[in-house]
Symmetry: C2
Subunit: 141 residues, 2 copies
DNA sequence: CCACAAACGTTATTTTATAACATTTTTGGA
DNA sequence: TCCAAAAATGTTATAAAATAACGTTTGTGG
């Protein structure tokens, strides 16, 4: 689970920095094509899907970006470096996500795997539901 | 989390039964297009992707099939009806998966969500690693 | 400065999933 | 039984997500 790739390695390239900034500026996960469509991205001269995917791959290697599997989307990692598994709370109303860390739960999950003789090297958790804002809005109506 | 849709509802249609049987016969998760390519499927007269997706959707509604998000693939649920969250152990060597139930962990995960004011209605866990067989084979070489 | 590796650009293609619309089948009353 | 509504299906086309292949540029260490 540990990599800390984001602590070392070369500086981000211009494309990588541009994509990371785009994700930081978004209030929810973006697909690669969402990113591609952003004005800031076009201004930077990025115009092919592959350009975006390449930048995203590097950013994920460094732990600066996470992929939300169930959305085919990418989100900036708003926590610092971390060794433990990450979970995502995905609001089915507004599409925003919240990252939660699973220090204690990871041990449990990996333990369930070990019971099966399975050597886990990566744990991903995605939970769907309603965020506080959307729950409140739904209750009000 | 509770649905038990598989306990009631109408009988499976021919298409649904055919797809379910195909997944039961596979030793690993299959993509919709993998399913589409199976001889048994073609023999049953199913030849369009949408036909497969429609059957898969219904089977998932009933909890008879699960989708592995990180593989874009579908697997037969080899456990009986269950209310609690399911996790998957995915072998990165052979591609086979193992389903594990997360009775105790789900409470913990949902609790972490509730801390954030988030009302969870679905939890998905996917863990990658090496299955016992592949780990043994790797150790032997 | 040069050689190598990494990143990038470009075009085409593959893989995964859904839209739109007509037809058939099933099912639950009248 | 028969009919109407709902569910499922067939068919064609298209959208959405991701990668392949290949050449060029950039950056970095020796």
């Amino acid at each position: 689970m540990a990599d800390h790739a984001h602590l070392d390695g070369p500086a981000l390239t211009r494309n990588q920095q541009t994509v990371l900034t785009a994700l930081k500026g978004a209030d929810k996960p973006l697909t690669a094509y969402d990113v591609l469509g952003l004005p800031a991205i076009r201004k930077a001269g990025m115009k092919a899907p592959l350009t975006i995917y390449r930048a995203l791959d590097k950013l994920m290697d460094r732990g600066l970006v996470h992929r939300i599997e169930s959305l085919n989307a990418f989100v900036h990692c708003d926590h610092g470096p971390h060794d433990h598994a990450t979970g995502f709370l995905i609001c089915t109303d507004c599409g925003r996500t919240l990252e939660v860390h699973l220090e204690s739960c990871e041990t449990h999950l990996a333990g369930r795997a070990r019971e099966q003789g399975f050597a886990v090297d990566n744990v991903r958790v995605e939970m769907t539901g309603r965020c506080p804002e959307c729950a409140a809005r739904a209750a009000a109506s």
